[in-house]
């Protein structure tokens, strides 16, 4: 049970980071299918940056790479007003190809040895000793703890500040936002850069806190799942937390099943989270409303 909870939170952490980034972007009216690309770019950049010897550099490098990918996306969908869906798909393809090429160029065909400093779980004294949930919630890598601060901060920013209101206005009614003196293009570009930085941080978490190295295509669809999580979480930070945790739990079910001695084929487990996401998307449909201007131009 403890292994299950620990795995659930561990899987949920990068998903939640990416989903919160996507939440900001979608609240500004942009559907960012390039998120998958920002995650993989952040993953490779964090490996390269952590190669200098410092984990903090690794995280910073991941965020910077994510922000750079977001800037490219902004250039096309905000600057040129290109189609968001096609541009996002192309950005993901671009980042996948570029990271695969760069990884081979930098580390050769053998790949990177497990030589970068990693950011292992940090157990918080006392709290991590709480029975059952202590280890899952309070013996995790640093990015999990970052989320404990980020979620309430984002909620407060979105609903209690002028800037948050401006962002939501841009996503709901760009025309009204313009009339109120909000610079729509600038808000959307900034949202893309900031949201993509979080996507890059999600990729850095995969490398620095989980696998310890990079593999081509290691984002494995997490960006697309994060987009679905934003829908499931009804574009609200707290809803997104619940949806990401539920997805993490679904992915971690294999630990629970193993513990119970049930034999289910491995690949069925791998497909399960995607199937549950589809089922959940169908379940919430009709009862959720996306930002009115989402993916409109």
């Amino acid at each position: 049970m403890e292994a299950f909870l620990e795995a659930a939170i561990r899987t949920a952490t990068p998903l939640l980071l990416a989903a919160l980034g996507e939440l900001i972007v979608e609240r500004a009216g942009v559907l960012n299918l390039g998120l998958e690309g920002t995650i993989i770019a952040g993953a490779l950049a964090s490996l390269v940056a952590a190669g200098t010897g410092t984990v903090a550099f690794g995280y910073a490098g991941g965020m910077a790479a994510g922000a750079a990918v977001g800037l490219v996306m902004a250039l096309f969908v905000v600057g040129l007003r290109a189609d968001q869906i096609i541009t996002g798909t192309a950005i993901t393809l671009l980042a996948t190809g570029a990271t695969g090429t760069l990884y081979r160029a930098l580390y050769g065909t053998q790949g990177a040895a497990l030589s970068v400093p990693t950011s292992g779980p940090i157990a918080i004294p006392l709290l991590s000793d709480i029975p059952i949930v202590g280890g899952a919630l309070f013996a995790q890598p640093v990015t999990t703890y970052l989320l404990y601060a980020l979620v309430p901060a984002m909620w407060w920013w979105l609903y209690r500040t002028h800037a948050g209101l401006a962002l939501r206005a841009v996503g709901e009614s760009p025309g009204a936002a313009v009339a109120a003196g909000v610079r729509v293009a600038r808000v959307r570009a900034l949202a893309l850069v900031a949201g993509s930085a979080l996507g890059g941080l999600a990729g850095a978490t995969l490398v620095l806190a989980q696998s310890g190295t990079f593999a081509e295509g290691m984002s494995a669809g997490r960006g697309f799942v994060a987009i679905a999580i934003v829908v499931l979480g009804r574009w609200h930070p707290l809803g997104v937390v619940l949806a990401a945790t539920a997805f993490g739990a679904a992915s971690a079910l294999q630990f629970l099943f193993q513990a119970m001695g049930w034999r289910v084929p491995y690949h069925i487990f791998l497909a399960l989270p995607y199937l549950l996401t589809l089922a959940a998307l169908a379940g919430v449909a009709g009862r959720v409303r996306s930002p009115a201007a989402l993916a409109k131009e």
Partner: protein, 350 residues
């Protein structure tokens, strides 16, 4: 030079702008390739020589590498083009292709060494039907529950790849149970070779026939007009054209899935002869670039499919002979897509 470039940029002639956009796109792709080669310290002549030899350098390279690789790209490219024209964002050609290949493998396995006249059509129909069925899931989710097909088709791609992973280790695994793949196809369930001494198979004619039929259908038939009208402006099509947009887009979605499923069945029976997880190196994603570069025109898909196939097999030759990572081709594909969307945008703002 600078002044003439600026002159073209400000020209009112959209053709000049379009040509300039194409040049800029190709230039950007070339810069990325050359910069990568320089960065890796690879001899440019050696690498570009390998690219040429691997794709168009010999009759064997053309027929057995480029054209063979073009078949799945053309069929999935047509699938994407048809869906996009109807306003359906089917990003799931990859999953539909995989499911089509799986159904084709299961059908071929069940029919064993029955005569080719029966097996081949049955296998291809199984591929089309299952591709359409896989698309139907996303279409049902879209119409019944308002789930964006962009998201559902991508999620279904991941379900499909894991489904194949399960099948080739479970119900469809080869009898010795060592390798994660199906048994190799009987000779009677392989597509006939068109050109003796090459690998060019019947699938090339199937792809050609599919492209020409789709072109004729979209150009000359009322059904084709309804698809374009529903895609261009669904509200106007419903009000002014009395078109049942929902039904039209559903049919286009299913036909799109059938084309992608056919691509999977053709690839299985013409090239791989067994089902395994890495059957597709991302045909369904490259298909988006193929369709967009062709401006969603079926005959353009033929040319774009061959172009991307040449790039793909040429990149493999570059990796083999000069050590250039083949993943570079994905980056080039993406740059082409971005160039096309940027160019389309520039024209619309005229």
């Amino acid at each position: 030079m600078a002044t003439s470039l600026a002159g073209v940029m400000h020209a009112r002639n959209p053709r000049a702008r379009s040509a300039l956009a194409a040049l800029v796109t190709l230039g950007a792709a070339a810069v990325v390739v050359l910069a990568t080669l320089a960065f890796m310290g690879i001899d440019t002549g050696l690498a570009l020589g390998a690219l040429w030899r691997g794709s168009f350098g010999s009759p064997y390279a053309i027929t057995s590498a480029t054209l063979v690789r073009a078949v799945p790209l053309i069929l999935t490219g047509l699938a994407v083009a048809l869906a996009f024209r109807a306003g359906v964002f089917n990003i799931g050609a990859e999953g539909q292709l995989l499911v089509g290949a799986a159904a084709a493998a299961a059908t071929a396995g069940a029919l064993g060494d029955t005569t080719r006249i029966i097996v081949i059509p049955a296998v291809l129909i199984a591929g089309m039907a299952s591709g359409a069925a896989w698309a139907a899931i996303a279409d049902w989710l879209r119409r019944r529950f308002d789930v964006l097909e962009v998201i559902s088709t991508i999620l279904l791609n991941f379900v499909a790849i894991n489904l194949i992973g399960f099948l080739v280790r479970g119900p469809l695994q080869e009898p010795t149970r060592i390798f994660p793949q199906t048994p190799t196809l009987e000779a009677t369930s392989r597509l006939p070779i068109l050109l003796a001494g090459s690998r060019l198979h019947l699938g090339a004619l199937i792809a050609l026939a599919a492209a020409v039929s789709l072109w004729w259908f979209l150009r000359d038939r009322a059904g084709g007009f309804r698809i374009d009208a529903a895609g261009a402006n669904p509200d106007a099509a419903a009000v002014a054209g009395q078109i049942d947009v929902g039904t039209v887009s559903t049919r286009a979605f299913l036909a799109s899935g059938a084309l992608a499923g056919l691509a999977g069945a053709v690839e299985l029976t013409g090239v791989t002869f067994a089902l395994y997880e890495n059957l597709s190196p991302g045909y369904g994603y490259t298909a988006i670039a193929v369709a967009l570069l062709a401006r969603l025109h079926p005959l353009g898909v033929l040319a774009a499919g061959i172009l991307f196939a040449a790039l793909d097999v040429g990149a493999n030759a570059m990796q083999r002979d000069a050590g250039v990572p083949a993943a570079l081709v994905h980056a080039v594909t993406a740059i082409v897509i971005l160039g096309v969307v940027a160019a389309a945008r520039t024209q619309r703002s005229d």
